[in-house]
């Protein structure tokens, strides 16, 4: 009896230690970025595990750079536009793919799934030509256009999954009432799909906010860059003296909104990711 209690206690302690280790592993790097960003440059090169002083000079340094502020503005413009376009096109496509039976539907679904698996670099030269022809090089427009290659497929995919789960009776009733597909979609389904749209929009926002390869290739000047590129290209006097304080401050600035969004909407994000992947 005593042995069994002992075993249970040991198991419990072991479990909590595992939880602790996993938590530490998940959170520590971000925590370390935060404490580094709050150090004055004189203390930067002494390793410490907690915040000794609250020094915001790194934040002041980063936020007083016009190029960084421009990068934040560009990222917001690009990510928000990408979300709007992906949801608009994705919603109509999801109605067609989720609620109507027609020949070629499986082919279209396969096509969409196939595009979501494209290696971005495979379209780099072709897309570069398209963007230059449309005169969108070195502008947010070029990024908005190119980002639809990876946001649109999964938006369509996730919204189709959610669209399929809605009851048939709703649509039958709308048809009996003589509602056109457009009215059915906007007046009957849209109100029910808000949670799904919020989820998908958030995933699209995160994907667009994080994108690096296209942003690096299709922009040229500081004023047109997005935040990931701006952070990647922060450099010091030489290769060996990177300004780690400001880099960590910039990293924290662009990450905190995402972390807050993810923590608030974690349930929705989980359901969105699993709807997009498991059911596909």
């Amino acid at each position: 009896m005593r042995l069994r209690i002992l075993k249970a206690v040991v198991l419990k302690i072991g479990f909590w230690m595992l939880v602790g280790v996993l938590m530490l592993y998940a959170i520590f790097p971000f925590y370390y970025a935060v404490i580094t960003s709050l150090k004055p440059s004189s203390q930067l090169f002494e390793v410490s595990y907690w915040v000794d002083s609250l020094d915001v000079s790194n934040y002041v340094a980063v936020l007083s750079q016009p190029a960084f502020l421009a990068a934040i503005r560009n990222s917001v413009i690009v990510a928000v536009s990408v979300v709007i376009i992906a949801l608009l096109l994705g919603l109509t496509a999801a109605w067609a793919l989720g609620r109507v039976r027609f020949r070629g539907r499986t082919t279209v679904m396969m096509l969409v799934l196939g595009v979501s698996m494209f290696p971005q670099v495979a379209v780099l030269s072709g897309l570069f030509e398209v963007i230059r022809t449309l005169d969108l090089y070195n502008s947010p427009g070029g990024l908005i256009l190119s980002y639809t290659i990876f946001t649109l497929p999964f938006t369509v995919w996730i919204l189709t999954t959610f669209m399929r789960q809605l009851p048939d009776e709703l649509e039958e009733a709308a048809i009996v009432d003589g509602a056109s597909p457009w009215v059915t979609l906007t007046k009957v389904f849209m109100p029910l799909l808000w949670p799904a749209m919020a989820t998908t929009g958030l995933l699209a926002f995160i994907a667009a906010w994080n994108e690096f390869l296209f942003a690096l290739t299709f922009t040229l000047t500081d004023s047109q860059r997005t935040v990931p590129v701006a952070i990647a290209l922060i450099s010091g006097g030489s290769q060996y003296e990177l300004p780690w304080g400001p880099i960590m401050a910039a990293s924290v600035i662009v990450t905190v909104p995402l972390v807050i969004l993810v923590v608030i909407f974690q349930r929705r994000i989980v359901s969105g990711l699993t709807a997009g992947a498991v059911k596909g």
Partner: protein, 332 residues
Amino acid sequence: MTVRESQSALSDNARYARDGRASGSLRRERGTRVRRQRVRAAWLFLTPMLIVLAAVAGWPLFRTFWFSLTDASLSSLEGAHFIGLENYLVFDNGWYGILADPLWWQSVWNTLYFTLVSVSLEAVLGVIVALVLNAHFRGRTLVRAAMLIPWAIPTVVSAKIWAWMLNDQFGIINHMLLGIGVIDAPLSWTADASLSMWAVIMVDVWKATPFVALLVLAALQMLPSDCYEAAKVDGIHPVRVFFRVTLPLITPALLVAVIFRALDALRVFDVIYVLTSNAASTMTMSIYARQQLVEFQDVGYGSAASTLLFMIIALVTVVYLYLGRRQLGGES
């Protein structure tokens, strides 16, 4: 009328419609017309998406294929000449072209190695994390939210954070390892050719494990509880239950996660570009292709590398679609 009212009114109508099913041919005729109208609407609704996908995916991909057969350069895309397969392989007093480039083969090998190691680690760790998150304990929601943080952090940012933690002189990882006596001199993680691949894998595993864990967790939560109760009653050891019951049941979800991750890993670019730049020891196919395309301005050659990468990924995708076909077909 509020949304809810209008919906309940609509479902009333649906009930009337079902009750009136006896009215025969008139309904059928109307049904066909409605169906035809709906199919037409479906294609109309799909058109914008298909046009955009053609513009950003189909056409550029076709152009990339075309460029790979030309001597195009970034400054003169228009003046490209058709040169056949010379970018891939050509004999001119010795073999030239991508397939004869040792650096290309090194990057192929690096990519495969990176994919194999990091995806395996992510699968094992992901299952462990999912099992922990599936247990009932206080603060589970909090822990789950915390586990999502690495996934939410932009790749470039996580690469920078880890670059700082792995810094050879002032990095906390070296500090910790020195502190517990594992090493006796600081390691230069991102510059040393034998370590840099492990540095990259470390960051990728940290960032992508939550994704695998989430998919596995979703599968775990759908498992029937009765066989666990039966196993408990029979006194079967939990480890045995895991390998005999749980693992087989979550395998489909785990496979999906692994394939998604593998496709991501095969095209990896940003984490490596930021962490180790263009070093040969960590160069992947994407890095190689972009270097040729943008830095060396050799669009023809770079496009050929991109095409080869596309073919590899297409092959994996086709295998995946083939395996998943039954599920897709079943729904349609």
